[in-house]
Symmetry: C2
Subunit: 199 residues, 2 copies
């Protein structure tokens, strides 16, 4: 588009690469930003370059933060012997929003996948095994996605941890809160039926 | 969220203020950016601060660019005596994507609105009148949105320009290209019927 300027076009192109934004919403976003230069655009530019410079993975659990050891791994309150294994940082954040888990995490960085040639060493599975081997861990909670790859990965981890004295658990499967049976897939209904409990 | 860091939380909060992004997609976007720090995040931060520093409105037409006179107003090729009046810069960009208009623009910056206390002086209407009064303008095309406020504004502008020797036109209304009658609103069908032409 030769209607604005090279700088603005470059910004629109970069914006359009963000997940969930296409060319149209990128244009709308950039116009919005230009109209709110002082209130939004300049602070956003600064926040982006701050985080780009400081963001790093926690060497222990793989969580993203701004120091080599994340806030959860360095908090004494979270040292209760529980490790919750998740696929991605977004899953860690989702668990934290749930607010009921008080232990520490281990972010795998994906799932095993023969198709994408992702083996245990591409993930943080060896690091998980060594964390468990070091002791101090009483329970490993496998909070992987209920997908084929997620469950394959969970089985593999369970195998790897079998020699260690640690309780292995996984998230319950069943009807989501607020879920209506009529809208649930057959697999979920079957899982919920099998795991039924007395009231 | 105390799970990442103050900087990352601040960035998510700023991102969530962008149009079309809520807290959830802001988190997803920030994670995506952190994973692609070098390829996307740093260039985006730089592009944002570049544009924040350089973006300004064209003093003639109100288009957004990086100089006081926009590329369209300074191009001799666009000096054909036509001025297309649009509500917003996004409408100007949409007209340019259409690619059939070869004249210059005038961006009002909104529409007249009694509710929001927006009168002619809040918009760039006086500037439009003075551009027409200066001569060199043969046709003013009112490309305002087909909303009540847009049409009210079009009528007001037509009144203001009545004393000048200038042809006033507006965009045709009718069935959009690819549109199916069954999905069109009654108003559009009525307008298309009234403006029917011989084949």
């Amino acid at each position: 588009m030769s209607t604005s300027s090279r700088e603005i076009e470059a910004l629109i192109e970069l914006m359009a690469r963000l997940p969930g934004l296409g060319p149209r919403s990128a244009r709308r976003t950039v116009l919005h930003l230009i109209k709110k230069r002082a209130q939004v655009m300049t602070p956003l530019a600064r926040a982006l370059s701050d985080v780009a410079a400081s963001a790093r993975e926690c060497v222990d659990c793989g969580n993203i933060g701004t120091s080599d050891h994340c806030q959860i791994c360095t908090s004494d309150k979270r040292a209760n012997g529980q490790i919750c294994v998740v696929e991605d940082v977004s899953d860690l954040w989702a668990m934290e929003r749930g607010g009921s888990f008080t232990g520490r995490y281990h972010v795998l960085g994906g799932t095993l996948s023969a198709l994408d040639a992702i083996g245990p060493d591409e993930l943080r599975i060896p690091k998980l095994v060594s964390r468990v081997a070091e002791g101090d861990v009483s329970e490993v909670i496998l909070a992987l996605n209920a997908t084929v790859d997620g469950q394959t990965t969970a089985h593999y981890i369970a195998d790897q941890l079998a020699v260690h004295e640690v309780t292995l658990t996984s998230l319950a499967q069943g009807v989501p809160i607020g879920g209506e049976l009529d809208y649930l897939d057959d697999g979920t209904i079957t899982a919920a039926f099998r795991a039924r409990k007395s009231v």
